[in-house]
Amino acid sequence: MIKTGISSFDDSVGGIDLRKTYLLSGNKESNKEDFIYRAVTSALQSKVAVVYVTTGKPVSDVLSEFSSKHLNIAQYLGTSLKLIDVYSRSITPQAGDNNYTKMLNGPLDLTGLSVALSAMNADMSKEGIPVLNIIDSLSVLLLYNNPTTMYRFLQFVCGRAKMAGISSVFLIDNEMHAPDVNETIKSLMDAVISLKMEGGKRTFKVSGNAKEVLDWKDI
């Protein structure tokens, strides 16, 4: 189990299971990013290697957001934390790789994403430590690729991650997509973590996991 560092979640569910694929679903107000940033920090502190894919903002923004939340991950960059930037080259075509970031050509390059994930996972798996893939988020990829293409992509990357013993969390803004798209993507995952904000409180529930939380629970 990979602890998320969110006590209500870890106490109820135990954390993120190894070898499992999760959909982290919620709208903008649900603050999925905060959940995942804390989970990433906790995983790194527990000697879990993380591959973080950003599709809707540049890596520099992601790192700034960690920093603004006082989540210190700088020490892991390039070693147990590597990032894949699907966004930057859409704006700055010449944006190049560095020792912790692989730049991809844009959201249409799902093959490039699959190849980069596969290569980083292979490198990290050689260390013999657990690996966590974060894809933040599917919603941007769904804006540019048709759903059938995305289902094929997800089926492949989820299958490969499970074969390699890697845990994966895919973020999605569920309100951006048609119900059938949300349902099909859920069916490709082992478990779904749903987040929402209601009455000024952020809550979660989990289905498909060994330990489920079927009623909304405070984070």
């Binding site: 080259r89 050509n105 093959t111 798996s125």
Partner: protein, 402 residues
């Protein structure tokens, strides 16, 4: 009529095997989703531009600027012989093409506009047409439309001196669709991964080629290297042989970045170096020669794919030890090249004598090597061996391996 020579692959091994891409032929680069084929496209385009071939690139995978920036990272520079149809910028709404390199499709969701753009461009005389990527056309529309684009291009090249290359990733489009696609091309090169839990190697293999008859093709391991592009790669080549035969000298002479774990010039753990030679890339692992380190030999021989056995031509008494080391490294059966070092020293055996005393078969490669400056050799440092011998040994081994 196209103006350049027949297009080439720009990847040494494919050009050796298939003699380039003849006019009126279509080639499919067929990749698995975990292994990229884009570098094959970059290298192909770059080398054809250098050969003064006019290349048309239909691009829907990246913006032209991002594509060129990516090529540049591999040290592939384009020139005026390249034209593009930009079918990407219209999707993102960000026009990153300045128009100087070709035309932009305003509505990449419009099949007719795409067909018209390709048809119009095909009226110009290109030597090579590259589609990157055909699978994205299938993703955007449907597989039948992708097949219709292949037909459109095939019809054009059949009546001209052009050739075409289609970059395709098999995202599980179904056997029938893929079979139809394969039936429409003259050659198919598969690009796949070697995988256990994760992919630990990549290879390409010619699966079909209708202009080369009666030849058996083999799979070739490769790495994509920045800068440089596709490098044929052999994960591990073992360099073994008795004490002071010249293993360390061979590795240091063959590699630019060799390192040794040694004491007073004698290897006590291993030598390591990278070889980059004629498009082939290899890791050389050298064993110690002293018997007290024999427990290491099996470990160092593990996963080797080829062996260079170094012997001292002046010391036939060590030859049984050389054979013993082959046994202890458990590398029998692997491709092997014997290097008879110190071949110009007094008392050195000739090639036939070495072959006889080592009980080598007549066909087994045996290469003689000599040091560059015999009079200046420091016994505590690896000697520099002459380039001719090193290159002959590497060529012989790579020939054995492929």
């Amino acid at each position: 009529m196209a103006k350049g020579k027949d297009p080439i692959f720009g990847i040494g091994r494919l050009d050796e095997e298939l003699s380039g891409i003849p006019a009126r032929k279509g080639v499919l680069f067929f990749a698995s989703p975990a292994v990229g084929n884009e570098v094959f496209g970059y290298q192909l385009i770059q080398n054809n531009l250098i050969h003064n071939n006019k290349v048309l690139l239909y691009l829907n995978r990246a913006s032209p600027k991002a594509y060129l920036a990516d090529m540049k990272e591999y040290d592939f520079i384009t020139n005026d012989n390249l034209s593009m149809i930009d079918s990407y910028s219209g999707i993102t709404g960000i026009n990153s093409s300045d128009g100087s390199i070709g035309r932009m499709i305003k509505n990449p969701y419009d099949k007719e506009e795409i067909k018209k753009a390709i048809t119009d461009e095909l009226e110009k005389d290109y030597d090579l047409i590259v589609i990157d990527s055909l699978s994205l056309i299938a993703d955007f529309f449907d597989f039948d439309f992708a097949l219709s684009i292949v037909d459109l291009i095939n019809n054009k090249i059949k009546n001209s001196d052009s050739s075409a290359v289609f970059l395709f990733t098999d995202w599980n489009y179904g056997e029938d669709n893929v079979d139809k696609l394969i039936s429409k091309v003259n050659a198919r090169v598969d690009i796949k991964g070697i995988e256990k839990r994760v992919i630990f190697g990549q290879y390409f293999a010619v699966i079909k080629c209708d202009w080369v008859i009666g030849k058996k093709f083999t799979s070739v391991l490769f790495k994509s290297v920045k800068p440089g592009g596709i490098k044929i790669y052999f994960p591990k080549i073992l360099v073994t042989g008795p004490t002071d035969a010249g293993k360390t000298s061979f590795i240091h002479s063959a590699s630019k970045d060799a390192i040794s774990v040694d004491r007073l010039g004698g290897t006590i753990a291993l030598d390591h170096g990278n070889v980059d030679f004629k498009g082939y890339k290899a890791d050389l692992f050298g064993t110690p020669g002293q018997e007290r380190f024999d427990p290491l030999l099996k470990l160092l021989g593990g996963e080797a794919v080829g062996v260079i056995l170094i012997i001292d031509s002046t010391k036939p008494t060590q030859f049984p030890r050389a054979i013993e080391m082959l046994r202890k490294t458990e590398t029998y059966g692997l491709p092997i090249v014997v290097v008879a070092n110190k071949a110009n020293m007094p008392g050195a055996l000739g090639i036939d004598e070495v072959r006889d005393k080592l009980h080598l078969e007549k066909e087994a490669p045996l290469i003689q090597t000599v040091a560059e400056n015999v009079e200046n050799i420091d016994p505590n440092k690896p000697a520099k061996l002459k380039k001719e011998g090193i290159e002959a040994a590497l060529s012989a081994l790579f020939e054995e391996l492929t």
